[in-house]
Symmetry: D2
Subunit: 319 residues, 4 copies
Amino acid sequence: MKRIGVLTSGGDAPGMNAAIRAVVRSAIYNGVEVYGIRRGYAGLLARDFVEMSLGSVGDIIHRGGTILRTARSEEFKTKEGMEKAVNNIKQLGIEGLVVIGGDGSFRGAAELAKRGVPTIGIPGTIDNDIPFTDYSIGFDTAVNTVVEAVNKIRDTATSHERTFIIEVMGRESGHIALYSGVACGAETILVPEKPYTIKGVCDKIMSGYKRGKLHSIIILAEGAGNAFEVGQKIKEMTGLETRVIVLGHLQRGGTPTAFDRILASQMGGKAVELLLNGVSDKMIGWVKGELVVTDLEKIFSAQKPLNEELYNLASVLAI
Amino acid sequence: MKRIGVLTSGGDAPGMNAAIRAVVRSAIYNGVEVYGIRRGYAGLLARDFVEMSLGSVGDIIHRGGTILRTARSEEFKTKEGMEKAVNNIKQLGIEGLVVIGGDGSFRGAAELAKRGVPTIGIPGTIDNDIPFTDYSIGFDTAVNTVVEAVNKIRDTATSHERTFIIEVMGRESGHIALYSGVACGAETILVPEKPYTIKGVCDKIMSGYKRGKLHSIIILAEGAGNAFEVGQKIKEMTGLETRVIVLGHLQRGGTPTAFDRILASQMGGKAVELLLNGVSDKMIGWVKGELVVTDLEKIFSAQKPLNEELYNLASVLAI
Amino acid sequence: MKRIGVLTSGGDAPGMNAAIRAVVRSAIYNGVEVYGIRRGYAGLLARDFVEMSLGSVGDIIHRGGTILRTARSEEFKTKEGMEKAVNNIKQLGIEGLVVIGGDGSFRGAAELAKRGVPTIGIPGTIDNDIPFTDYSIGFDTAVNTVVEAVNKIRDTATSHERTFIIEVMGRESGHIALYSGVACGAETILVPEKPYTIKGVCDKIMSGYKRGKLHSIIILAEGAGNAFEVGQKIKEMTGLETRVIVLGHLQRGGTPTAFDRILASQMGGKAVELLLNGVSDKMIGWVKGELVVTDLEKIFSAQKPLNEELYNLASVLAI
Amino acid sequence: MKRIGVLTSGGDAPGMNAAIRAVVRSAIYNGVEVYGIRRGYAGLLARDFVEMSLGSVGDIIHRGGTILRTARSEEFKTKEGMEKAVNNIKQLGIEGLVVIGGDGSFRGAAELAKRGVPTIGIPGTIDNDIPFTDYSIGFDTAVNTVVEAVNKIRDTATSHERTFIIEVMGRESGHIALYSGVACGAETILVPEKPYTIKGVCDKIMSGYKRGKLHSIIILAEGAGNAFEVGQKIKEMTGLETRVIVLGHLQRGGTPTAFDRILASQMGGKAVELLLNGVSDKMIGWVKGELVVTDLEKIFSAQKPLNEELYNLASVLAI
């Protein structure tokens, strides 16, 4: 193997740069050249390539976002687009491709693999909704960003004796909400995977106030309801003042945590090792404290379950 | 003077605790007792008092919010409420009152002063919209909170080549928007004090993109337009993807900056000194690097102007 | 079981409060009373007890240190001290004890267990040097603290083109050095487990400079040499300006990361469950993504190995 | 004026990049070209120049350090060096020079001015020891860095009931120590400007402990004594456990605060305005809330006094 490519695709996630760095340095360490493909599959079609050196990934391990940038590409999803992509890869002499991204990005990767391009996926998405990996790159940072935000809100919530509803990312999954909710000691955690009633939420708030609590923090995954509606209904039912904060894109940014940098570094190194060993059409996961390799195909039909033990613990601790 | 009182009122602001600490310690240093009045004027009516000791304000200088809490009181604005408040103060033997808060809180303070209660106001509000002081307690922290948030957004904005509209606090004034906008190097700063057109905003964005910029940051004071509408219009006019973040109550919280802690400490110490010297019905301001005392009455009829020099500099630097 | 006790012992670690909270709330949830024992074994001897309520552990999950405090006790290590401790526990009606701390604290716990006090250990130490657990409470926070410090130093290192030696905690183990070194992208990581020569370190630095690097970051565990001596020798051998920073106790403090809070919450909940099930003389570990229980005795004779894979990866990435 | 130059010299300070950006953008806005001179006066002699564009200062406002880097130059202090520097400036067509740095850097600037190079100085040093300006660029960030460090130490200090001595920068001046000490609520602040006795320090600590304090924080400017010796003597005299932290170069780094970015932006804009107006041999200061211009010569013979009011307030508040 003489030359590989690396791209980031889908929503950006903190730690993607650490993964790019690890891919580039591991490859060069093994005598393999690396081309960076800018703006994901769109750049693959537009031949937006750049040769990567050791220095080109210097001083990026601590930066959020992705130096290769990311974009959507409708053309890539067409038959013509796919063929053009394969041609570009071949013309450039790229003999292996590392795709850092989420579910959608891996579908593209699997298509390329079918067409003879050796491809390895690295899970990078703050949502942590990719099955067959306990953590995806960016999740730990996003959870810590929520936790820091709630730290700030806690002060003002106590001062005003208010109920705060914090909406976090997660349209179809409550991973960020659950982990950050436990970490913040939130009174209530609302996730799409678990039905709830406003009355139940209000009962919990009121029992806390009766016990002398001066504020109440509710963490709501965006897929579990509209934060403003939830806030309004709680106000109507309890008479308490509620405030809503939608954290939104704040969760995507920021310097990655140590955990995300290390995870990304390990996955990047492993991706190169796999390509060198002739492996293709796989995703690298972090499962029970180890790097584990899974067929890309298996990912598309599976769903990542919520951490039930942690969800139950949350109820106990918010007694 | 044997005993004074201190309360926080209106929206909470980081640094209020440092001011409370300074009032308490300066008073005790001068042999004067201090009562904390909880929940602002509401607590004054409800006799929600607590005697403060040196230890009661230990380990609070770094905490956001206010340990005395704050609340609104409609009753206090009535004639009966005001009389009740004055009676409570006299019965408790409070011979001077320090009110930490904003414009609305000072109106109450001025009324009490008229009724014979020596009263000193300390400006505490993140909005920095109080005239006769260059800085109010909490402003520096709020500006830094915005700056940190934009740091995070910058990563993801660059990665996706997007335009971000960040809505910050300021219904009638653009102080937070202006200071944080300059500090972030925002392309565009929209404040209520200055008219603007969406077309002008779009022209600026497009000229940046033509020069090779990968993202655009717009800071919008809440009083200068609805962030979502502005984002939608920019998208329509430029074709660029826009994203909106409303920072909201995040700006109220957090551990206060060194500047806010020092400012609050100085103002708290000065408030006690003034009461001991028989001064009343005044606000302490920080004007051109010095503590300056102003009649409360003057504040209600004045308006704090936007920093024009800084506004002009912002345009030059965002060339 | 009607009543249990909880104490923190040894060096404090961020996340200990989250563990205390989880012990208290899980116990109360299960109808069991909890006594907090202040200042570790010293407080056990001095009967420095406090009954814990739901509210007593409110608003502590985000605080560094330990609200129960910690101290050393020579008396506890004597036969008389041990008997006194057992008596105090029995007189107070404590039927189970949770000990949050490190190796030394667990020796005391094992002694108590031998004398009939059901005891569960929770690993809390920033050093992460306890075997049979992949992570101890506080390690993730400490590593992130080092990473943040290096972020700051990186700026000034680049500006001055200097070599920085950062000494981190770890007298006998290089866990903090290794994890933070990988996360920072340090050029060189020096740990007690791995021999090294100054010449080797200098060769690496010089090859980086030849490649155009503007700074060099060396992470040194305190057990791997004196930072000032290492700095001096590098200067002599390379002629480069070196600077030394000893992070010291900074690493113990700070608000715990989400990871540490969640880990601590899980371990605290599990400790109560084990006591309720009649288990004793065990430590709870986090092994390969799961809570795993180990005999306290086994811990004393084992050593926690350095993560060899990560150590090797570090060399590859610092090429 | 067609072309100006800008350089950073001496120790780096957070905010220097914001000043560089402001110089470059203000100049280009006014139709003037800008050359960056790398590595201070050393680069001036070595002709290490780079033309600056609007884009070259994009995305740097939030970065610590200085993109132009800094270095010492012994050659520049010689007569030959100075002549060479003037020649290089003239050959490059530089008609005005902005020097961002401290006292030593300004001496060089004044020499250049004498030789016919219009020169303006911008005070950039974390120490804040330059007279005729209330704040120099980087001071606010450094003070906040100390405050954050003490926040972390406070947790562990309380948990162990220990006395911490924190050594901060300031060989001949106690500005960082005083401001950070007030902001942290330190029990004791030791600065070179004020004599003290260890006995006095110990009396203060003991009176705090008697009042129930669980920890004691002493902020020591490096010029006011050796932190380890002070710690040892306190231990001997009081029997209390002491710990020492030397913050060192941590204080130089980090992303600049909003205050430092705004100050730097204003000074950078003003420097260009002054050069365009034919002004030379001056430093821009921030005095009582305004930009004020002072002869460079006056700076060398003056000393910046400690803020006496703040020093006195510190004693009152640490009662």
